[in-house]
């Protein structure tokens, strides 16, 4: 039985060896290479090179931007003085507003409004110098708040022109009224009657009644409709 197996295995081994020798170097006519065979192999290497080049380019660009950033920052504050040097448009005096409203512009407007013919009689009235001084003070303080809305019209600019707070106006008016009362207290007859009501009510009509036709009391009449200070 063992001899039979050995014989079989040796026969198989011979057969295998013959088959191997016949087929090992066997060659047949092969088809031509696929069109993209060599290109594909080269393209893979080329693609890898492209990836490396792209990564390097990104790195260089990033480094450049990073290094350029600190030099750009100072240039931004440097541009601000140029903006500050720009002049404010002169057309403000005509009532046409530019985009930027400056406090100086509102001062100019108030000065111009002093030359308003409506207010001229106030300055030309006959009155004692102390009274006129107090009137001038009140005029200035009033006109800042009163005339500006006419010029600016409605909008946010008017609000900025009325930046002088109503409390300040009230204080000024009260002071002014007290001064006039003190001055007139000794000379004239009882004017103190409206003074009692005045502190609570600072409406222009009351002050007009109290001062009986004094020019400063007519000033609030120049107020635009609905443009009161309160």
């Amino acid at each position: 039985m063992k001899d039979n197996d050995l014989h079989t295995s040796s026969v198989e081994a011979d057969f295998d060896a013959r088959c191997r020798s016949l087929l090992e170097d066997r060659a047949v006519a092969a088809p031509g290479p696929r069109a993209d065979l060599f290109a594909a192999a080269s393209a893979k290497a080329g693609t890898a090179r492209l990836w490396y080049a792209g990564a390097a380019a990104l790195l260089i660009a990033g480094t450049f931007l990073w290094s350029a950033r600190p030099t750009e920052e100072p240039s931004v504050p440097g541009a601000l003085p140029e903006l500050m040097d720009q002049e404010i448009p002169e057309a403000i005096g005509d009532g046409v507003m530019g985009p930027v409203v400056d406090s100086e512009g509102s001062d100019d407007l108030s000065l111009e409004s002093e030359a308003n013919p409506v207010d001229e009689p106030v300055a030309t009235r006959d009155a004692d110098p102390a009274e006129l001084r107090s009137m001038e003070q009140s005029d200035i303080s009033m006109e800042v708040g009163v005339v500006a809305p006419e010029v600016f019209g409605s909008g946010g600019a008017a609000a900025s022109a009325m930046a002088t707070s109503p409390d300040e106006d009230e204080v000024v008016r009260e002071k002014m009224y007290e001064e006039t009362l003190q001055e007139e207290a000794g000379t004239e007859e009882a004017v103190s009657e409206p003074a009692d009501a005045a502190p609570a009510n600072t409406e222009p009509a009351n002050t007009e009644e109290a001062s009986e036709g004094k020019p400063r009391l007519t000033l609030p009449l120049t107020l635009p409709s609905g443009g009161g200070q309160r």
């Binding site: 026969v11 088959c19 087929l23 066997r26 047949v28 092969a30 088809p31 065979l37 192999a41």
Partner: protein, 198 residues
């Protein structure tokens, strides 16, 4: 046959990804590798796919090849591995064909252990085998794989590999004996006819 120096130059050119070197390498070895691919596939079209895929792998991994090994053996191993990958894929979509489905041969031919056959006849006989048997036979006999390696590669049992090899070998012997006997009978007929004519 290119000399070893020429082959070295060719390999270096392929390592440098030069298309001209790759083309020459393909022309030089494609016939041999295609013959290998045919043995592991069911059709010429499949063999062509295996060949092209194998060359893509060869060009891609040629940098890892070391000159102290047989370059042809290294390439053939790539072709075999590629063919096995194709075989695994094809197994998902095909039913198992057993060797018993094949037609029987005459008993007297079966006992002929030492038939004379040529390479073409052997290739013809191998082509008659089911793909599984053929793959096991070629891996064991021609490529020199061990049974456990075959079992691992084809994801089959070691005993299955052994039995398939044994049955494939017997079947080939049978077919080759038949072919040999036919050729001998043809020769006898031809010589008889020639003798009668003379």
């Amino acid at each position: 046959m290119a000399s070893s120096e020429e082959l070295k130059t060719l390999i270096e050119g392929c390592k440098a990804q030069r298309p001209s070197a790759q083309r020459r390498l393909y022309e030089r070895f494609s016939g041999q590798l295609f013959a290998t691919a045919i043995r592991y596939t069911n059709s010429r079209v499949d063999a062509e796919d295996v060949l092209q895929d194998s060359f893509v792998k060869i060009f891609k991994h040629i940098k890892s090849y070391r000159l102290d090994f047989s370059f042809e053996g290294w390439m053939r191993k790539i072709v075999v591995n590629t063919a096995i990958t194709h075989y695994r894929k094809s197994q998902k979509h095909s039913h198992h064909q057993d060797i018993t489905d094949l037609p029987a041969t005459p008993r007297d031919m079966e006992n002929q252990h030492d038939p004379e056959f040529t390479a073409e006849e052997l290739e013809f006989a191998i082509a008659q085998l089911p793909l599984g048997y053929r793959t096991v036979f070629c891996m064991y006999v021609i490529e020199g794989f061990k049974h456990h390696e075959i079992a691992e590669q084809l994801q089959i049992d070691v005993n299955t590999s052994k039995s398939q090899l044994s049955r494939a070998r017997k079947y080939l012997q049978r077919v080759l004996a038949t072919l040999s006997a036919r050729a001998q009978s043809k020769e006898g007929t031809t010589s008889g006819t020639v003798g009668k004519a003379q």
